[in-house]
């Protein structure tokens, strides 16, 4: 596997960003139902409009805006996930995907024939269908408190989307949300390095020769991206 393909190329990324500028007035740029900050402008490459609304709404609940820091949408997490879908990882090309696919105890690990992009496609459709059936509307239109309850039900495995357990979808969404918020901004999330600033992670500084034995002192320098962006 050519590992360079594991990252969206700079060219792809810039194209996506350029597209986002042109499409900023689409529904993807609309204000969120809870009246929070507008979503980060991004024209999704993989997700369709319904999926994109779900993704934005769910990410904003997994990492909500509060006194400690911004929400996942402000951090660009949905954009990160969308870009990840177009990598070997998103296509499941770094996983062993040979048949047969058999069921087994949970502790023996993931055994479904779905790549990450399939998990999102099936999972979001399933979650929205569940919400329509039980709540009368798509997930994104629910009140935030109810969105939290639905996400918690998925986390506890209280629904199934065809042969995709909701818990499997939830784990995929949660882990990618954390990755997007806390990875280097070059991958499309952690906008303004605000997630790193929130926890005090200095990013690509990666040189503590003079600080290793300054015991008990707070590291004084702000965070920096691989790109050179700093905060």
């Amino acid at each position: 596997m050519n590992r360079l393909h594991a990252v969206p190329t700079r060219r792809t990324f810039m194209q996506v960003m350029a597209g986002a500028t042109a499409l900023v007035a689409t529904p993807c740029g609309a204000a969120r139902p809870d009246g929070g900050a507008p979503m980060v402008a991004h024209a999704p490459v993989f997700f369709n409009a319904d999926e994109w609304r779900f993704l934005n709404a769910a990410c904003a609940r997994l990492i909500p805006r509060d006194a400690l820091g911004p929400d996942a949408v402000t951090l660009g997490v949905p954009r990160f996930i969308d870009l990840q879908m177009d990598t070997p990882y998103g296509r499941g090309q770094s996983w062993y995907m040979h048949a047969p696919f058999a069921e087994g105890p949970a502790n023996l690990g993931y055994q479904l024939p779905y790549a990450p992009r399939d998990i999102y496609r099936v999972g979001i459709a399933g979650a929205n269908a569940w919400c329509h059936n039980h709540e009368g509307s798509a997930f994104a239109a629910l009140l935030p408190a109810r969105q939290d309850e639905v996400l918690a039900m998925m986390e506890r495995g209280e629904m199934t989307f065809g042969n995709l357990p909701a818990a499997q979808f939830f784990e995929q969404l949660l882990s990618n949300t954390m990755e997007g918020a806390f990875a280097d901004p070059i991958h499309g999330g952690n906008a303004g390095l605000r997630a790193w600033t929130m926890i005090g992670f200095p990013g690509a500084r990666a040189d503590f020769m003079d600080w290793v034995d300054q015991y008990g002192m707070k590291y004084p320098l702000g965070t920096v991206s691989i790109s050179g962006e700093s905060a």
Binding site: S94, W95, L174, W196, F201, Y215, K218, I226
Partner: protein, 594 residues
């Protein structure tokens, strides 16, 4: 398939990690023409370790850019013989490497010598506690070598790796503040110990107050500029925190790529072929002699490389699988309790506890080095009386702050019981990341009759060959050992004045979970020893039944150890190479009569 025959060479080496690179260096020094086959890509610090692109946590630790490509080949896993094993489809519990340097490129750098008692553990346990102390079904064995045998080779490996550490005893004299339980050395470490990060500093103080004997962990992360015996150069570690999962951009962490290959690559006796995936060792009609190996290249062409001597030095379980696929040695049958290849498969028994300090104290967990830290060995190996405790094995305890980065911190979140998302998660994360530290019980795992490796009956790799099947679970003895040692971590945490402590112990009845990272320190499966009915290899790591095949790696460990394996693997490579050079090459044949 028709394989094209390559020009014969003296030695063919399978796998370009530490073991392969050491063997290649030693064999070329002995005048042998060597071909080293590596199934992954070529890698070097100049390309894979370039700052700042190399220190990308998403790519390094979450997209596994230096690790095995599971899409082509993996293993299947089950907890017991009655289950159907299922494929390990995504990286999680363990992370084998791929590419030049192997796991030696992405490792942390913890560099130990094996405790002398661990090498003769069966003899030692019987001597101290009697034979009946060994639980039913535990295949406790000696290595067939002693610390005295291996000391020159531990020493050699440290000099090549540029290891930093503090000695305790040299030639029998106490010389320093090192590990009081460590055996006497023939010389000092090549470099002084690394500085303690703050967490390790606090742990050292508290462990002393609790009555234990803390020491600086020996680390192949250079504490100062260093030139090794091959002329390879290392720069001083700056505690950047990007060791495990990364090529060290500072040239500070020892790797085959930095410490051996720059010299080998210039040697006309050495040839490296990458993207060369070995399918099997070729045997003659007597099945007692290997004639070479067959591999498939990146274009899908198959080649046979004839050689006089075949050295398997792939990762532990790949070596075992190649032996099984090639018909080398008798496969282990756990029901009949016969055969040796696949027998004594072991893991390592690691749990991580956490300590929260006052909110005014910043633990700066992002500062770290992979091999550095402070440990105590009061409950490792045979350093304590197991008699009243009733278990075999032990566990060093340490703060090995290797650099906790943002994604890993976010996924870990707050203390157990805290929500994994939402505002409560965020509060727990910020508090934990800034004010906590982690203490590991890094324990041994014993070998058992019903824990083993064989070939899977169902799943195949990308080349149509059966995957290796692991049958593994935690056993009562090892769970009790872990729980005892973790309680001692509680003693240290109290001495630290912890605000909150989470002691993490292995739980009875909870099976081995392939979904959670534990450690990549897998061992055994083709073990060394003195009895061909219980070991696949003799004490020189030579296959009993096929004397022109040597198998170098942690596969040779008869049972697990509390220490990280690399120091022992490197010493065994130098030990085996020494006996090949001084005895085998002059008169090829068995180095030990069965």
């Amino acid at each position: 398939m028709d394989a094209t025959r390559c020009k014969p060479v003296d030695v063919v080496i399978v796998g370009g990690g530490w073991a392969g690179s050491i063997m290649a260096k030693e064999m070329t020094e002995a005048g042998q023409k060597v071909v080293m086959l590596e199934r992954g890509p070529d890698r070097s610090t100049a390309v894979d370790g370039v700052y700042p692109g190399s220190i990308d946590e998403l790519e390094g630790n979450f997209r596994y850019r230096l690790f095995q490509d599971l899409s082509k080949s993996t293993v299947t896993i089950r907890n017991n013989i009655h289950q159907r094993a299922l494929p390990y489809r995504r990286m999680a519990a363990f992370l084998p490497g791929e590419g030049v340097g192997g796991a030696g490129l992405h490792w942390s750098g913890v560099h130990f010598r094996m405790p002398p008692d661990d090498l003769v553990l069966r003899s030692k346990v019987i001597e101290r506690y009697g034979k009946s102390f060994i639980p039913e079904g535990m295949n406790l064995q000696d290595y067939g070598v002693t610390y005295e045998d291996l000391e020159p080779f531990f020493d050699r490996a440290e000099k090549v790796f540029g290891t930093s550490g503090e000695p305790y005893r040299i030639n029998g004299e106490v010389v320093g503040k090192g590990n009081v339980f460590s055996p006497s050395r023939s010389g000092p470490f090549p470099l002084p110990a690394l500085k303690d990060v703050y967490s390790a500093h606090l742990f050292r103080k508290a462990a002393t107050e609790a009555g234990f004997h803390p020491y600086s962990m020996p680390a192949a992360n250079a504490s100062a500029q260093y030139t090794n015996p091959y002329g390879a150069q290392m720069g001083p570690c700056n505690f950047c925190g990007y060791c495990s999962g990364y090529a060290c951009y500072m040239y500070s962490k020892a790797s085959p790529n930095v410490n051996i290959l720059p010299v080998l690559r210039r040697d006309p006796l050495f040839e490296l072929r990458t993207h060369a995936h070995v399918l099997r060792v070729e045997m003659d009609s007597t099945k007692t002699r290997a004639t070479g190996v067959t591999y498939i290249d990146q274009q899908g062409r198959t080649w046979t490389q004839p050689a006089e001597l075949v050295i398997l030095s792939a990762f532990q379980f790949h070596n075992v699988r190649l032996m099984l696929l090639s018909g080398i040695g008798r496969p282990y049958d756990p029901v009949a309790n016969e055969g040796v290849v696949g027998r004594n498969f072991v893991y390592q028994n690691v749990t991580t506890s956490m300590v929260w300090l006052d909110k005014g104290i910043e633990t700066e967990q992002f500062i770290g080095t992979g091999g550095g830290g402070v440990a105590f060995d009061d409950f490792n190996s045979e350093n304590f009386d197991h008699g009243p405790l009733g278990f075999v094995g032990g566990s060093p305890v340490w703060v090995n702050q290797a650099g906790v980065k943002a994604i890993a911190a976010a996924q870990a979140g707050g203390p157990p019981g805290t929500p994994r998302w939402g505002s409560a998660w965020k509060r727990g994360l910020v508090d934990t990341y800034r004010h906590s530290l982690r203490i590991d019980a890094h324990g041994a795992n014993m070998a058992y009759r019903d824990v083993f490796l064989d070939l899977d009956p169902t799943w195949k790799d990308a080349y149509g060959l059966p995957l290796l099947r692991m049958t593994f679970d935690w056993k009562d003895n090892d769970i009790r050992m872990n729980r005892y040692v973790v309680d001692r971590i509680g003693d240290v945490a109290r001495a630290m004045g912890a605000r909150h402590v989470q002691l993490t112990k292995r739980e009875f009845g909870v099976p081995f979970d392939t979904r959670k990272y534990q450690t990549t320190h897998l061992g055994g499966g083709a073990v060394m020893g003195t009895d061909p009915t219980t070991s696949a290899l003799n004490r020189y790591l030579q296959v009993w039944d096929v004397p022109n095949v040597f198998v170098i790696g942690a596969n040779a460990f008869p049972q697990g150890t509390g220490y990280n394996p690399t120091g022992m693997v490197a010493a065994l490579a130098y030990w085996s190479a020494h006996h090949i050079r001084t005895t085998y090459l002059k008169n090829p044949g068995p180095l030990v009569s069965p």
